[in-house]
Amino acid sequence: MIDFRQELDFDAEGPILAMEDLCKSYQLGATELRVLREINLAINSGEYVAIMGPSGSGKSTLLNMIGCLDRPTSGDYRLGGQSVSVLDDDDLSMIRGARIGFVFQSFNLIAQLNVVENIEIPMYYQGYSEHESAERAEELATMVGLGERLRHRPSELSGGQQQRVAIARALANDPLIILADEPTGNLDSSSGAEILMILDRLREEGKTLIVVTHDEHIATRAERVIRLFDGRIDKEEFNTR
């Protein structure tokens, strides 16, 4: 097995991820549904990028592509200088586990596991020792303000707390890229604000952050806003702070 921690050269000069004429289409009967069309995109390490666009414009599809959950129909996607198309399923799993942290709109915690156990999942697949992973999971839970709720089940937590667990879980393997698909979509404004503060903090720590959102307020926090329309990059805006 190749160790992608070494194979993918994330520290090299140039963008951490790059897409070249990337297309994704679905075959629906006789018609071809083109969800992403000729996407050309480069994101540098440590950038905070927001992806916006109307519903159905392909935001989630693009994010899944970046997160190696999906493969392009055509075009090239390079992650850390390595073309993803030559990698097999195990390699992609390895990259997802070690280099990428996912945060979903619907939290996606596992119901029968408690806070610590949920945070431990990515570490389990990376082969952490029992002691190491438990310790780190508790640390992360405390960091997102859930030090008092370590043994609670997701059903015993508020939406905001659940999303904080999800963020802690996304950070478990110390990933380079955090991908969040409408992380505040299911939250009220105050819990949403807390989540955004945590994301800001991650940005300051040097993580690459890519957030899909409908919220213009969130977009203003990002350095770059990519606007999708009908599967194409319609516009790119850079915010200066």
């Binding site: 959950l69 399923d89 195990d90 697949y125 990376q126």
Partner: protein, 435 residues
């Protein structure tokens, strides 16, 4: 690290099975009953076969037993109104075996006569066995006290006897039987020894139903055997046993010997000697008035029967385990589709297909192996009750336990693999979108 993962996997599997306790239990029941019935049936089968083997082995694997049987009516010469019926083995037969068959090493002719024995005011029915001093050599009967009949007893036609333990128990309440005189048919016999109980000798199955000699017929009512020198029996009861048979209008029956036991030197000679015995007898016996019982043959038949029994049992067990396995597969398919989203989450967080396969396969294995363990416990309990209440011998062999446990593991893998494979090959994105 491997231990940690194993521990985690088992903990996780146990947890999700525990979440659906009732469902898991019902699913495991199929395996529990399958495994326990395999163990129980094998134990009963093994017990029965060992019983049979031991009984037959007691007859002696080097022995050939030739018995007098009453010939079928229509074979009797003359047909109607027969007043005297002569049949059965003779002293001449014994002599011919001795001289005519080279492999014969020991020969034991027996007279068996049903009689009443009297000691003080006690009276029991027993079987007088007129035999020779070397009888114990070819029989499982062992001396407990005193001695067996001697050549001197034989030579001088002594009025001595050896009793078996059951007769002693019935006849002598508190007295020491050795040296006491027991009265049988008007004569007294001095007790010189006590032997172990006489073992019931099974006949070949096809002859079981046919009417055997009077002595044998009454054997059920007799408490045991009284061994007397053959010469003494000849002297006191006459050359032949006379019996008034109850059927066919008061026929008188004359039989010289009820039994001749022949022993050969080596097991390999048994079948050949049986053939010679058969040939010799058919030359001198016009009527079908004897049967030849070969314990070795019975032993082989018992083994064959056991093999068939095992095959039938195996098929039944296989079917029941198949049904159990299908039940498990069904539940695992349901579990996988219920937990589609969990699978998507795990895949997004770095689980490889292999990890998902291991997760679901180990869940199935936990289910079937714990079912197997419970089935083993239950399967060990059933034979215990069968032995206790059914008075049947049962033997649980280690190999049957290992087999049953192995089967439950194999069922887990065979029926868990497909659901696990389905789980692993689900598209992560689709799974994440699944409600």
């Amino acid at each position: 690290m491997f231990i940690f993962r194993l521990k985690r996997t088992i903990k996780l599997g146990a947890k999700s099975l525990w979440m659906h306790r009732l469902r898991s239990t019902l699913t495991a029941l199929g395996i529990i009953f399958g495994v326990s019935s395999v163990i129980a049936m094998l134990a009963i089968g093994e017990g029965a076969s060992r019983d049979a083997q031991e009984k037959i082995a007691q007859l002696g694997s080097r022995n050939i037993i030739i018995r007098t049987i009453k010939p079928p009516e229509d074979q009797v010469a003359g047909g109607q109104q027969q007043t005297l019926m002569e049949y059965g083995l003779t002293y001449d037969d014994a002599e011919r075996f001795q001289n005519g068959i080279p492999d014969v090493q020991v020969i034991v002719p027996n007279r068996r006569i049903s009689q009443q024995a009297l000691y003080r005011n006690r009276r029991v029915s027993l079987e007088v066995v007129g035999t020779v001093p070397w009888f114990p050599n070819i029989s499982p009967t062992r001396i407990r006290f005193g001695r067996f009949l001697s050549t001197t007893d034989m030579h001088y036609k002594q009025g001595v006897c050896v009793l078996d333990e059951r007769v002693v128990k019935e006849l002598f309440a508190f007295d020491d039987p050795i040296g006491q005189a027991v009265k049988v048919g008007g004569d007294y016999y001095r007790v010189v020894g006590i032997t172990t109980e006489q073992s019931k000798t099974p006949t070949s199955p096809e002859l079981e139903t046919k009417d055997a000699t009077g002595a044998k017929k009454a054997a059920g009512a007799n408490v045991g055997a009284m061994y007397v020198p053959l010469t003494t029996v000849k002297d006191r009861f006459g050359e032949m046993s006379m019996q008034i048979s109850s059927g066919s209008g008061g026929t008188l029956e004359r039989v010289e010997l009820q039994e001749i036991i022949v022993q050969v030197q080596d097991v390999d000679m048994v079948m050949g000697t049986r053939q010679s015995v058969q040939t010799l007898l058919s030359r001198f016996h016009k009527k079908n008035d004897y049967e030849i019982v070969v314990p070795l043959e019975l032993m082989r038949q018992a083994k064959d029967f056991q093999r068939i029994f095992t095959i039938v049992l195996g098929s039944i067990a296989a079917i029941s385990l198949l049904v159990g396995g299908i039940g498990i597969m069904n539940i695992m398919m349901a579990t996988v589709s219920e937990r589609t989203r969990e699978i998507g989450i795990r895949r997004a967080l770095g689980a490889k297909k292999k990890d998902i396969v291991i997760q679901f396969l180990s869940e199935t294995l936990i289910l079937t192996l714990s079912g197997g363990l419970l089935g083993m416990a239950l399967g060990a309990l059933i034979p215990f009750f069968v032995t206790h209440f059914g008075q049947m011998r049962t033997v649980i062999t280690g190999s049957s336990l290992i087999l049953a446990f192995g089967i439950s593991g194999a069922v887990g893998i065979a029926f868990g693999l497909y659901p696990a494979y389905r789980a692993a090959n689900m598209d992560p994105i689709e799974s994440l979108r699944h409600e």
